[in-house]
Subunit: 187 residues, 2 copies
């Protein structure tokens, strides 16, 4: 951020009065521009024990597998966002279940919020941002080709909970990019 989105004049990084963190402040109109984490919302859709995954048609991590997920929009609930992403990326109408995972992706300034979900019928396909969409038995999940660390975490917890007959809520955080976790910018 170099310019004020209100008046178009240059901004400078400084700590506003009464604050304790540097913010982008306009030198002309005085507007303080806060920057906060964005929410990525998604779900793990299951159909008769198998998991629906999408192979990404876009960067980052083009060609790698992920669950339906993307940025939450203004005016949209988390449940509606997860449903919309499933429709857009996997042409699938899912029923959202319990909350599965909340992952703070600190280096990307994102919070990934992932639900369990049910695919009521075996209808899906590749949306514009997917190369292909497929149902995977647990033993066939392509772990080395999962696009993001947060998705790997959510899938692991989903499966271990399912094996134990539980539906837990799991928190974790990633402080820095791993081999598999470039900055998420999908959907």
């Amino acid at each position: 951020m170099k310019f004020c989105s209100v008046c178009g004049q240059p901004v400078a990084l400084r700590v506003p009065e009464g604050d304790n963190l540097p913010r982008h402040v306009c030198g002309s109109c005085g507007t303080i521009h806060y920057r906060n984490p964005k929410i990525v919302v998604g779900c793990v859709p299951e159909w008769q024990g198998r998991i629906l995954l999408c192979r990404r048609a876009i960067e980052p991590r083009r060609g790698y597998w992920t669950i339906p997920a993307g940025f939450l929009e203004n005016g949209e609930t988390l449940h509606a966002g997860a449903q919309r992403e499933s429709q857009e990326e996997a042409l699938a109408q899912v029923e959202i279940g319990s909350l599965l995972a909340v992952v703070s992706v600190l280096y990307a300034e994102q919070v990934h919020i992932m639900f369990r979900a049910r695919l009521p019928e075996q209808r899906f396909g590749a949306g514009a941002e997917s190369l292909e969409v497929e149902l995977f038995e647990e033993a066939r999940i392509p772990w080395p080709d999962i696009a993001f660390a947060s998705v790997e975490f959510a899938l692991q917890r989903y499966l271990s909970d399912r094996a134990a007959g539980l539906e837990g809520l799991h928190f974790t955080e990633f402080e820095r990019r791993t081999g598999m976790g470039p900055k998420y910018s999908g959907g």
Copy 2:
């Protein structure tokens, strides 16, 4: 948003190619400026059965009671954000517990995420944004003077769960401002 924060030139609202929602797009450098919901994080701190509330020293809803809560910062986990807000607003060092409530405040473009919390010792006070901070027995909670609908929701669910010996996770949404719910801009 009227100007591009990257180059300072005017932006226009239009639907970018491959998208389906209008975004602020720069007419000069082409940058697409996405706007997404912000996260407000907070907690309900309990000490020996009593609930810690803060009376707001700032607008909106100055003079009304709330739980410690505020905008999640970049680089901060949800748990750390809830702890920080408790320190800033109530000078209280809390232990964060289970997730209590997730409230989509659609009109304000915010998601309020609230945890249960424990105050390990009876030490607290009014931070810079609080007029006073007090522990309330359940029967003394000032319901007509609670600042925000999302906080009322969280407190109600906290108390009904506690009475039932549960720790549930509760979702709700507010589509429009209620009498008690002006746009949150605290902390």
